[in-house]
């Protein structure tokens, strides 16, 4: 059975996909393992919050988005170390 993935974890996967593999929607879909509709909904939310921006090559992390991703990664490590789930 697939483990449950929280909303935060999905957002983290999307931000990480953009950060590591570039912001093409097909890449994000593969990396974050989401349906197109769900992925677009999340991306719209991230755009609204100023965490990502849309450019000629697809999506890119803003400065704020990059910092948010770093904080999320730290939180994930803290959660894992104490046995919580993010």
């Amino acid at each position: 059975m697939k483990p449950y993935r929280s909303r935060l974890k999905i957002i983290m996967d999307i931000l990480e996909a953009i950060s590591l593999h570039g912001g093409k929607i097909s890449t994000i879909l593969t990396y974050a393992n989401l349906s197109h509709d769900r992925c677009v909904k999340y991306l719209e939310e991230l755009l609204e919050k100023g965490l990502v921006e849309e450019g000629a090559d697809g999506y890119a992390l803003t400065e704020r988005g990059y910092k948010f991703l770093q904080e999320l990664k730290r939180a994930e490590r803290l959660a894992e170390a104490f046995g919580f789930r993010l």
Binding site: E71, L72, A75, R77, L78, E80, A81, G83
Partner: protein, 200 residues
């Protein structure tokens, strides 16, 4: 060993451990502010209480020596005991976040004074033991260096309380070991935080 040296050692070790507890608390707060997960909030509160317990113990012990009002040491230990119990309960409850509600701590004068002794250290030992078992399971189910450091931190703190308890029963020399183990516990927390904040 002269009493002044022992007391000075006691003050310094408690102070350094409190600083480590506050650093963990800060990172737990940052994790809470980005995720809004209650478990992080409880963890943050737990380490804040632990930090204040150690800090107050250290300050009141210093005040007792400087002012020669020696009952301040008992007040200091009472506060340390009460705040550490709350801290451990908060950390334990972070594993069952939805169930927990905590009340404001009572002002010290309303609490019965608890002198340093085997019973209060035994209570702290039990609570620290429960947290250590929880973290041990977490580590052995899926091993990683981060999990090992957190498990070791509470295991060291557990042994710290064990040595404090043994010291209270009979063996005065265990005071030094108790402090070393408690410090090693907070040093393990710091090592973990350093790994997490390390860039890259």
């Amino acid at each position: 060993m002269p009493l002044r040296v022992i007391l000075g050692y006691d003050i310094v070790m408690s102070f350094v451990s409190s600083a480590a507890a506050f650093i963990i608390s800060y990172y737990a707060y940052r994790a809470y502010s980005v995720t809004k997960k209650k478990s992080f909030l409880l963890l943050q509160l737990g380490f804040t209480f632990a930090g204040f317990g150690l800090l107050l113990d250290s300050i009141l012990l210093s005040a007792a020596i400087l002012s020669r009002i020696f009952h301040l040491t008992t007040t200091g230990y009472t506060l340390y005991f009460a705040l550490t119990v709350i801290a451990y309960v908060l950390v334990l409850s972070s594993y069952a976040v939805d169930k927990f509600e905590f009340s404001e701590t009572s002002i010290p004068s309303l609490l019965p004074l608890i002198g340093f002794g085997a019973l209060p250290e035994g209570i702290l030992l039990t609570l620290a033991g429960a947290i250590t078992i929880q973290l041990g399971l977490n580590f052995f189910l899926n091993r990683s260096v981060d999990k090992l450091l957190i498990f070791m931190a509470f295991a060291f703190i557990f042994f710290g309380h064990l040595f404090f308890m043994l010291q209270a029963i009979r063996f005065a020399g265990f005071l030094i070991l108790g402090h070393i183990f408690r410090f090693l516990g907070f040093a393990s927390f710091l090592a973990f935080i350093l790994r997490v904040v390390k860039p890259g």
